[in-house]
């Protein structure tokens, strides 16, 4: 079980800020594939991975990062702080 968080337009497209996901995906990319297979709104949100960023346990990483031991996965667009 991992907590999956969505922010900004990813949150809006998927329609929720957070959910618990039962997964045995090895990497972030595998988790994304599982989510996309579920429902069209996930496929729409994850259509272009180049326009997305991912953090594992609140550290930025990439889509090939392994999920073993991770408790919190977050997907969001490139950040626009400042």
């Amino acid at each position: 079980m991992v907590d999956v968080l969505y922010f900004a337009w990813v949150r809006e497209r998927i329609g929720l800020p957070k959910e618990q996901v039962e997964t045995s995906a090895a990497t972030v990319r595998d988790l994304v594939a599982e989510l996309c297979a579920r429902e069209e709104r996930y496929a729409a949100a994850f259509a272009d991975l180049d326009s997305l960023r991912v953090a594992l346990d609140q550290d930025l990483t990439d889509f090939d990062a392994p999920l073993a031991g991770v408790r919190e996965v977050a997907f969001f667009p490139p950040m626009t702080g400042g």
Partner: protein, 147 residues
């Protein structure tokens, strides 16, 4: 060394004075303040900033620690708001204090460059005609390569 992530407004002048006043160890203080700009059409109703509680503080503290490791800084302040704000409102500020003006300037620019594209904030602009997420700029990502 202070990092604050907050919804409520802050008073730039009060923060700037508290940061700079009575300092005898650092002759150079630089501040940067980000202000909500109106749109070219002049119709911005408000800006809403979303963030990732927990990761935001973590990211800002890392950026601040990186700056301190790199320049001779006697103090650093980062304040960043989230939530709704209107044109002219202050979004965030950073301040650096150093014995050397070049260090104070470079560290403030470094903080801003990383804060722009490595701290989990997202801006949305809301007008009468709708709302739109602000797109990140390639130049902001490119700015990181100078450090």
């Amino acid at each position: 060394m202070t990092v604050r992530v907050q919804e409520e407004p802050f008073d730039f002048g009060v923060e700037a004075n508290a940061f700079a006043t009575g300092r005898t160890d650092a002759g150079a203080v630089v501040t940067f303040t980000g202000i909500v700009r109106d749109l070219a059409r002049g119709d911005l109703d408000r800006m809403v900033i979303e963030h990732y509680p927990g990761m935001t503080e973590r990211a800002l503290e890392k950026i601040e620690a990186d700056a301190r490791a790199r320049w001779d800084l006697r103090d650093v302040l980062i304040i960043h708001r989230y939530g709704a704000m209107g044109p002219g409102d202050m979004i965030m500020m950073v301040a650096t204090a150093s014995p050397h003006r070049v260090d104070a300037f470079e560290a403030a620019e470094f903080l801003m460059d990383f804060l722009k594209s490595r701290a989990p904030f997202w801006k949305k602009e809301i007008t009468q005609s709708g709302e739109e997420w602000v797109a990140s700029k390639a130049e902001d990502e490119d700015a990181l390569s100078r450090w």
